[in-house]
Symmetry: C2
């Protein structure tokens, strides 16, 4: 509780942010968007370093195709906004609004003034993908001539490739999650509820250096067949599997690791049954084979296909009910998605999960997940916990 946050951590400097902003403006112009309208969230943090909590008062970075970006903020957050490096460097201007002002009219005015030809009404804007409907609909009203599209259409190619500092942050987050997972997997489990173990996971994620815990799935026994199981009052018993899928964020960047345990209570007769061992062996092979395929130029969907082929050939095709992975960075889930239909070629610096799973409804399931960076010559696996089945006393 008294450990200092951020000590020795890589961070993203004002120069890098200014470069990202100038690149975003260039891409906006190229894509024919009069402005990029960026609400609180990962895109705002990526472009400006500013990461306030998401609240009902509009905070919006307006990046016009021409001219200086503005950060529209509620008056009571102006002091915080003025302290961020890209504002101190005057790359971005702070525009505060008062409680009784109309912030949407304010944004519309900035878009109109920053459009390539200030004389004509704005024809196209891009909004950040997770901007709330309440803001989207009000902005559509305030900018009636503009076609609205998603910021990811403009910025996807930028955020999808991580620079070395970003990879360092992803690695630090992965290692912190690895430690938390090892501690929980080798601690007491039997007789505790999933919810209780889940709370322990969250505490350990933070104790190991995360800024916050984002999720802590603890799915025991039949619940292990539900990939997004919400931990609840079920008590863990000897003789069953547990899927632990945990993650948080560190310096803004996500961790996300899944391992499957089998809890014996120290009784050999309560070890994994042959069906489970067979299932797990197939899953282990599929996860390893998919990981080996990672290199620049390979289509994202190919990684999914490799895992799926092995699982399907073993007869579990219908039990692998989700894609193989998702990108990770400032968001838990982001581009690139490793899913059928996504032909995006992998590029060096892309970071994503590889996490096939097999789920036998009503019985049990298993999943193995690592975070992997696409390196110039092949996969760089950030998580280091063994991918063998963890058969523990519990």
């Amino acid at each position: 509780m008294t450990q200092a946050a951020g000590a020795g951590r890589p961070s993203i400097g004002a120069g890098r942010l200014a470069h990202r902003l100038s690149r975003a403006r260039h891409l906006a112009l190229e894509a024919g968007r009069d402005a990029l309208l960026v609400g609180v969230g990962a895109d705002l943090r990526y472009l400006s370093g500013y990461a306030p909590p998401p609240l009902e008062r509009l905070t919006m970075l307006v990046v016009p195709a021409h001219g200086r970006p503005s950060l529209v903020v509620p008056r009571l957050e102006a002091m915080a906004a003025r302290a961020i490096p890209v504002v101190e460097a005057e790359t971005v201007a702070v525009v505060p609004w008062d409680e009784t002002d109309d912030p949407f009219a304010l944004v519309a005015g900035l878009v109109e003034r920053g459009a390539p030809d200030g004389a004509r009404p704005p024809s196209a804007v891009a909004v950040s993908d997770r901007l709330w409907a309440t803001f989207v609909l009000h902005l559509q009203e305030a900018l009636p001539t503009a076609r609205f599209s998603l910021l990811s259409d403009v910025l996807r190619g930028e955020r999808i490739v991580k620079d070395p500092d970003e990879v360092d942050l992803l690695r630090a987050a992965a290692h912190a999650a690895d430690r938390a997972l090892e501690q929980v997997a080798h601690g007491r489990l039997i007789g505790r509820t999933e919810a209780d173990v889940s709370r322990e996971v969250r505490d350990r994620l933070v104790a190991e250096g995360h800024d916050e815990a984002s999720f802590a799935i603890v799915a025991s026994g039949p619940n292990s067949a539900s990939p997004h199981h919400e931990p609840a009052d079920r008590v863990i018993r000897a003789g069953e599997p547990i899927v632990l899928d945990i993650g948080g964020s560190l310096g803004g960047y996500g961790s996300d690791i899944t391992r499957t345990l089998w809890v014996t209570g120290g009784e050999p007769s309560r070890g994994p049954d042959p069906d489970f061992l067979a299932l797990y062996g197939v899953l282990r092979d599929a996860q390893a084979a998919a990981t080996r395929e990672v290199r620049p130029g390979v289509p994202a969907e190919h990684i999914d296909a490799v895992a799926r082929e092995i699982i399907t050939a073993a007869g579990y095709g219908g039990a692998f009910i989700h894609r193989t992975g998702h990108g990770i960075g400032l968001e838990e889930h982001e581009d690139p998605y490793l899913v059928a239909g996504n032909a995006t070629p992998l590029r060096a610096g892309m970071a994503f999960s590889i996490e096939p799973g097999i789920y036998l409804d009503g019985r049990y399931g298993a999943r193995i997940e690592d975070i992997v960076v696409c390196g110039e010559d092949g996969p760089i696996v950030l998580d280091a916990v063994t991918r063998d089945l963890l058969v523990v006393h519990g």
Copy 2:
């Protein structure tokens, strides 16, 4: 860490949820909406009890003006969705979609089939206020004939009044936050960073019974003049104020309390200066006077005006840079807002913060905040920590 969650807590049963759903359908019809489209978040929880994490795969409750509501979920969450009481009671049907399906076309189909006159194309839908832009824009494309408006326009009058179980949850949350605040205020503070104290606050919020900590503002010295200060590396010293503004959620319902301390280090010479005492006295009066005005029929903006008048008369009007309060329930901030221009009359069961503040830029500031329920005969104040200035050793 081993405390059981939810023991003895009031909860919202399936019968109540079914009633809310039927009421929502009735209001949709009355308001001329073909369907309500409810994404993950407070509205989904309010109407169905379902509270999955917000992710990039569409989860959406479709409440058509006619016919049974459907819960559209990604296949990998179908098992979790089928376990919720309103689905078990067959009030709501689960409609799973696979990774390569188009969930927006699926929703559009459900809207079309559930419209008052299945023959004509949908003309109006309401989307939940915090639905992400990526979902809003895709739904606008999938439902090109429909006018989009906000769900709060339809449902505001429902969620804004809390039933007795909801008030019990708000009270339990408030008391848990009170305990966490008292513990931190009377513990060691001097020599620690704001970020470190903030982490302690979060731990204590959870230890006292919250499901999760939502925020933990620790604003010391000059930072106390920034209402939404982000706790960072500043070290707390003797002879300065600290604003603690903390909250979490318990059974889905929020807590939110602010108290201002003055840290002396045990040295009388480092007590609050006369200016601060004067400022605090005005603030204390304003907060108490505003609270006393709470009763059914009083316009929301009147509560703001009462606090503002007292602060302005004392010469601090320009230093009270935010509204007096916000509603609270399944969201940290929701209707009713106590702000100039909001003439909504208070009703019994409304719950909101009353939190005036005075901020002297570059010097220091103070804020006092309670959660208050409008009772039949006057205010019911849920927080019980003294509102006097907390002059502590630190």
